[in-house]
């Protein structure tokens, strides 16, 4: 955690303790902080967060995983859909403290480390299942959960199962086609749609060679910010296997 995200300016925060804002402040501006450990895309991330920190803000701002988009902020549009222990959830309706000890998969956690797209991602790409792209990560995540429950859906079942995500651009035809295509491709491989794609690279997942090719998932490396390196929180920590920068409240370890 950096000072950017704490009203108090206290970089570390003290778990369980309210910050001293002074007695003249309204009570609703006083907020306690809590330590959380969340496995995000297969890596254990530790952080100290204010009690009301939304999961969507935690992912986007604290972890730099900006592929999870925030559209309506009240749980209707589906842009912020992520998987929580494999089930699709709205990150804008959950608190970071509420996912302590659990596993979250975001859009950045689907492609293989060698860059191979997950079959659902590949299908949305191939079927032109996107235009502005803002809703796309949410649709992809929802589709992963949906296809895990129903590997051979009919078009009618797709229209039912994917109805929790809104798209304003496409008219949904290519999205429906993408889910159909993804189902067919997943059936060929038998892959669990909720799991990270294994990839084609025999070295994938083993160290620097694979990661050097991670252009496909730059967010995972925390380098997508447009500012200079080091400007943002934990922007250098994500490639380390050990805990993050001691100065940061966001840490990392093996899941």
């Amino acid at each position: 955690m950096t000072t950017d995200h704490l009203p108090s300016g206290d970089p570390g925060g003290t778990p369980g303790h309210a910050h001293d804002h002074g007695s003249d402040l309204p009570a609703d501006l006083v907020e306690s902080t809590h330590a959380v450990s969340v496995t995000v895309n297969g890596r254990l991330r530790r952080a100290t967060v204010p009690a009301r920190r939304l999961l969507s803000d935690f992912l986007r701002h604290d972890l730099g995983l900006t592929g999870t988009h925030v559209g309506c902020e009240h749980g209707v549009c589906g842009c912020c859909t992520v998987l929580l222990d494999g089930a699709a959830v709205r990150a804008c309706l959950l608190l970071a403290v509420g996912v302590d000890g659990r596993a979250v998969t975001t859009i950045e956690g689907l492609a293989a480390e060698d860059g191979t797209l997950h079959p659902v991602q590949q299908a949305f790409h191939d079927e032109h299942g996107l235009q502005c792209g803002f809703c796309t990560p949410g649709f992809v995540m929802s589709a992963c959960d949906f296809l895990a429950d129903n590997a051979t859906p009919t078009r009618a079942e797709i229209r039912e199962g994917m109805s929790g995500n809104l798209c304003r651009c496409t008219g949904y035809q290519n999205i429906t086609a993408a889910v159909e295509t993804a189902a067919a491709r997943l059936a060929e491989t038998g892959q669990d749609p909720r799991a990270r794609c294994a990839g084609n690279d025999p070295d994938s997942g083993s160290g620097a060679v694979a990661r050097a090719r991670m252009g496909a998932t730059p967010n995972e490396a925390g380098t997508t910010g447009r500012g200079p390196a080091g400007q943002g929180p934990s922007s250098t920590g994500a490639l380390d296997d050990g805990p993050g920068d001691p100065g940061s409240a966001v840490g990392e370890g093996d899941a």
């Binding site: 000072t3 995200h5 704490l6 009203p7 108090s8 300016g9 402040l25 309204p26 609703d28 900006t66 592929g67 988009h69 925030v70 559209g71 309506c72 902020e73 009240h74 209707v76 549009c77 859009i107 492609a111 293989a112 060698d114 860059g115 191979t116 797209l117 949305f124 191939d126 032109h128 996107l130 235009q131 502005c132 792209g133 803002f134 796309t136 990560p137 229209r159 039912e160 109805s163 809104l166 798209c167 304003r168 496409t170 008219g171 949904y172 035809q173 290519n174 999205i175 990839g199 690279d201 090719r213 252009g215 496909a216 998932t217 967010n219 997508t224 447009r226 500012g227 400007q231 943002g232």
Partner: protein, 802 residues
Amino acid sequence: MHDKAEPTPADDRATPRSGGTGSRHDATAPGVRTVGAGDSLPHDSAHKHVTGAAIYTDDERALDGELHLAPVLADIARGTIQAIDTTTARAVEGVVGVWTAADVPGRNDTAPVFDADPLMADERVSFFGQVVAVVAAEDLDTARRAARLVEVDATAEDPSLDLATAFERGDHLRPPHRQERGDPDAALSSAAHRLSGELVMGGQEHFYLEGQVARAVPGEDGDLWLSSSTQNPTEMQHLVARILDRDMKSITVEVRRMGGGFGGKETQSAQAACLAALVADATGRPARMRLRRHDDMVTTGKRHDFLGRWEVGFDDDGRITALVTDLVGNAGHSVDLSEGVVDRAMFHVDNCYFLPAARVSGHTVATNTVSNTAFRGFGGPQGMLVGESVIEAIARHRGLDPLEVRRRNFYAPVDRGDGRDTTHYGQQVTDNIIAGLVEEVATSADYDARRDEIAASNAQSTVLRRGIALTPVKFGIAFTVRHLNQAGALVHVYKDGSIHLNHGGTEMGQGLFVKVAQVVASELGVDVARVRVSSARTDKVPNTSPTAASAGTDLNGMAAQFAAREIRGAITTWLADRDDVDPDDVVFADDQVTVGERTLPFATVAHEAYMARVPLSSTGHYATPDIHYDRETGSGHPFFYYAYGAAVSEVVVDTLTGEMKVVAADLLHDVGRSINPAIDLGQVEGGFVQGVGWLTTEQLHWADDGRPTVTGPSTYKIPAIGDPPEHFEVRLVPDSVNLADVVYRSKAVGEPPLMLAISVWCAIKDAIASLADGAVDPPLAAPATPEAILAACDAVRADGVN
């Protein structure tokens, strides 16, 4: 500081993906695409969109010390501000400041054309949700919570909310505009039949999934760099300069992409951009403003709701002899772009139908609501819906199939020579393909047989009634403001053979970037993979027009084509001279350059050209020819050409509950010679579905005190994945060629397909009309919500009995 403020465009950091990313469009080796204009390439950001790597404005990592902004909104729709007390808000730890109208150093006005769109309310409040102040804090949560602590003391007055009342009272924001042909009064008097009617059409929230957002970063010499989610970077630059009393040269606006625009980020992006700029300039710190969805829906303009009143004269065959109509647009509290929107409604009330005598009057009317603005179609849909409702009324009166009435009123081909080929504003329709298009879709969708089958089915069904309709679209392409019909582009060929492309157009998902890249690749005979499209930036291509009016590819594609041809010409001249061949024997194709007998890789040629000191960078500028319009006479040639389409839609209506389902749609749309059919099909499908939303489920609502009651997707219903019809056939007109000289003879595609959705509205009327055997024209409002459908059913039942 300035270096930090000049981020690398997201695209420039992306690396080509290798292995496993091959799509059906990858013709050969990974990363190499031997395709150009005419091919269905994926969206240029498709890979980034499916991986979450695409960067939208709010995804940009905060810089050190970056401030977050939250607006303070008026909680009355009309009144006078007595005092603003910011003391409590300022005292909150983490709050850096609160700014009001008094703190604006330049002009407190973000109006695009006519004055009176205050950045922040200055004394007068004229709509609920108007921004009164802005709070800046170290983090967004603090800013939003502190904004609630700003106390605004204001005296409220009764707001003006009803459009018809405001129109009749004469609350015009602009003088009425009139187009007149012949003697419509005499023609009405002598008409065999006369009908009159009124149509109320609701507005539409854009509901771009990415809300309004902007960042401003201070640089040297008082300069500011902004990242803004806007369709109109030059206008943002201009307005920021205005509110800060600065020259435009001090302001740079960059737009990599938007998460949807639809017209909602043409002028409405100004508030976030200007407030972020104001705070960044005042504090010397980067500042970011992202509106939460509620605030976005409350404070930003929408599609205009309209009132259409008409009187039509026609003969026994249903042929129109005269039309007199008033088209009344609800501008909201200020003009914004409303005059142009009302104009475009007037330009489209005829749709595909010849009006021998006509008086079309447009009215830009003020109410105490948010200032309505551009939205895909820009008034065209509202005007066209009035025209189609006139056709429907005539058909029911004469007992004819509405399609037959449409056919009898179509503009005639120019070569028929009977004069029925010119619009009521004097433009001859020279590229008319309406009749053929309509017959083709009528045949492919089996309209006649289905119509008979539906009639038989309705005769057996008391509650569930089906309806079918075929409606055409003719949509004029060009900005109706002449000077906006220009564009610039900048193309660099680097000495390694890679190409940088920049143009004045912005990417909002419509695929402009990939289409223009295909144009440049085709001009230089190279793989599209060589071309990097970069974010729109006001310091690369200046004085750009908004990406609007469907004209993005027409304008920027041409400008980029000119720039690429300039470079190709320079290389050709040099090679022909060097190798002593005819310039015609220098051919750019297949990622190579053939010079007489020799063939060289493009990259080799680029390097050799650089060594020979050949210029490898060029700008291009394009200005649309042949457009003019005289407001005084209401006549001219405002459009470069027309885009056409036609659709057959079928619905089923529950006449006891008003529930409705679109069960089938067959669309045929003309995009000329498509630069990218996959992208164009996506525009047609998406436009149609968005239009269906406008006409069926999307309903805005205000309380009596002017408070918007629909402020999020929980209450505002845009189409979801189950709403498009299960039978949804979408085709582009095959072998079409734009007669106008547009890039590769393509046609604009952004807006026209939205109006194909009128077929759904007319099909609903058809279903309801069956309750009285088609003899009564259902008084159906738009949107045709279940309530509106039920009201129309009741009216038809009552009328049918009488």
